[in-house]
């Protein structure tokens, strides 16, 4: 069976959930080989994690020489790995950085590229959600090695025992790839809440919060949810940009999305329309968000949410 390269999504060796989803998808196409860009010391621990989801091999690419540069070195390393392994496909978690890596890799390998897939079938046919979630598109790579970036929450991770054999891969990175330098990095403080794109429940607030996110955050915490925001709330400086849901923010596809004081503009919908269940609280019965909802409350979020938070807590005991 051919190898399928799966790029591991991780934060300093901490493997993130989309990686397990990708490994699950990769098994439909061949035998998954995970690719870890990171410190070799963390390689064994990472291999332990990914082999539980079927990774037969784990290529460890020491990132000491490349992590200070943007995108280009990773594309070179993956090109070399692809030339060595002739994979059936290359899958990457759909982050901005990985999409750029994938774009450069597609040119290097002369391969077709599909971005932001929400599903990949056994025969490599991908599903994408386009035009703000109003259409789904079925597509396939017809030339070269399929390079596919896959969105979080595209598959339920399924365990499967893999050998998880660690193999160091020494990539040669050209000087030309080391031209855009990361001068400084400031990690964002953790909120202690689930990650927005991975969360099962997302509770968001918009301009209707008037800048007071406490009711939104309180309700989110009662449900163990992530907190999101509309661009209006971000532009007003009420929430950091990292919390923005929508076309120019994060795309989320949780089991439940609760929009509070958000009107439902097309650019916001683009980031949440594929959520399984949608709830809105808005004081305007004409707000377009109500066209999307499974359940809606016409009311003031400042009274509805605190009361609902209390009731959720009571039920949970």
């Amino acid at each position: 069976m051919s190898e399928v390269l799966v790029v591991i999504d991780h934060a300093d060796g901490e493997v993130k959930k989309p990686t397990f989803e990708l490994l699950t998808i990769a098994r439909r196409l061949g035998e998954p080989s995970a690719v870890f860009f990171g410190s070799p010391e963390q390689g064994d621990a990472v291999a332990e994690k990914v082999k539980k989801y079927g990774a037969a091999k784990v290529y460890v690419v020491d990132d000491a020489q490349i992590k200070g540069y943007l995108v280009a070195p990773k594309a070179e390393a993956l090109q070399q790995l692809a030339e060595k392994t002739s994979p059936a496909a290359i899958l990457l978690p759909s982050t901005f950085e990985n999409k750029e890596v994938a774009g450069r890799l597609a040119i290097k390998l002369g391969s077709g590229l599909i971005t932001d897939a929400v599903d990949v079938a056994d025969d490599g046919t991908t599903t994408q959600s386009v035009f703000a979630g109003n259409y789904t598109v079925q597509a396939k790579v017809t030339h070269g090695t399929p390079i596919i970036t896959v969105k979080p929450n595209s598959a339920a991770p399924e365990e499967a025992e893999g050998a998880g054999t660690v193999e160091a891969f020494a990539a040669t990175v050209s000087d030309a790839a080391k031209t855009a330098q990361i001068v400084a990095t400031q990690p964002r403080q953790s909120t202690g809440r689930p990650e927005l794109t991975e969360a099962a429940i997302v509770v968001s607030g918009g301009r209707g919060t008037g800048g007071n996110f406490e009711p939104v955050e309180g309700f989110a915490d009662s449900l163990g949810a992530a907190v999101g925001a509309s661009r209006a709330a971000v532009d007003s400086g009420w929430m950091p940009h990292a919390f923005q849901v929508g076309q120019t923010g994060k795309t989320v596809s949780p089991q439940l999305y609760v929009a509070n004081g958000i009107s439902g503009a097309i650019q916001h919908r683009a980031g949440m329309q594929t959520s399984k269940t949608i709830i809105a609280v808005n004081k305007d019965p004409e707000a377009p968000i109500f066209e999307l909802v499974d359940f809606g409350v016409v009311g003031d979020l400042h009274t509805v949410l605190p009361a609902a938070t209390e009731k959720v807590k009571e039920r949970k005991g």
């Binding site: 971005t115 259409y135 990690p187 964002r188 609280v281 009274t303």
Partner: protein
């Protein structure tokens, strides 16, 4: 110094966007416009020029697209770009990222040969394809450093520094011109064309290039040689109307929580 800003003509996101029978995006039947996200790129190009007063800086707006796509270039000229280039050729229709980035790169090389291209500016994504891959692909093809997704841009001499939000962090990236730079919608609101700008735009140079002007063959681009193929498109079934309650005397919260419980969220 010459700045090339890549602007895409896209179907209006607030209109009913759809596909043609061959599954390509309907770029003719639906009203189009300069992608809002590329307005931010035009704005940053203009600010770059304005901040470096005294230097001889020109801004060229470049688009690849059908006849009507020239509107995207016109809008950029109205905002303040100095000249425009519209690459149009029937053979380009239906190109995927590889084809589009190839045509754009060849066009940028041609501008470069004529008047230089020290800074290639792009939007963060096209509002129709939302790939966010073309800037990186241009950097790959042109052999220039890529500095992408900037929310703040500073430059001095040939040095450029940007700030950007990454997955879990905020980063500062530095590079030396010439570079490919993409900017986000956090980089600052784009200006509206003034009446004077609209009048002045009519006299600005606007060139139309075909594939042969770029030394490309029809066999290198377009739908027939695309590296990916769309097999089907389906309109999302309309969501079935949900239950809407009005919050009277605090009943809304109770109904909401009952709904959550009925769906097993609590």
């Amino acid at each position: 110094m010459n700045i090339v800003v890549c602007v895409k003509y896209v179907p209006d996101a607030t209109a009913d966007r759809k596909f043609e029978d061959d599954y390509t995006v309907d770029r003719v039947g639906v009203d189009g416009l300069l992608s809002e996200l590329d307005e931010y790129a035009v704005e940053q190009a203009l600010q770059f020029r304005e901040k470096r007063e005294g230097e001889d800086i020109t801004v060229t707006a470049l688009t690849v697209g059908p006849e009507k796509a020239v509107d995207a270039v016109r809008k950029a000229l109205q905002m303040g770009a100095d000249s425009g280039v519209h690459v149009v050729d029937d053979a380009i229709a239906g190109s995927d990222y590889l084809g589009t980035s190839l045509v754009l790169a060849k066009a940028i090389e041609k501008v470069k040969a004529d008047s230089g291209a020290d800074l290639v500016l792009c939007g963060m994504a096209s509002t129709d394809a939302s790939g966010s891959v073309v800037p990186a692909m241009l950097a790959e093809r042109l052999g220039m450093p890529q500095v992408t997704l900037a929310s703040v841009i500073e430059s001095q001499g040939d040095q450029v520094r940007i700030k950007r939000d990454n997955e879990g962090s905020t980063e500062v990236i530095g590079a030396t011109l010439p570079i490919v730079l993409s900017v986000t919608d956090q980089s600052g609101e784009a200006r509206y064309p003034s009446f004077k700008g609209i009048m002045a735009a009519k006299k600005k140079p606007l060139e139309t290039w075909s594939l042969s002007d770029l030394g490309l063959d029809a066999e290198q681009v377009g739908l027939s040689v695309a590296y990916t193929q769309v097999e089907d498109t389906t309109a999302r079934p309309p969501r079935t109307a949900g239950e809407i309650v009005t919050d009277e005397d605090g009943s809304g919260a109770g109904a909401l929580v009952d709904f959550l419980a009925s769906k097993k969220f609590i």
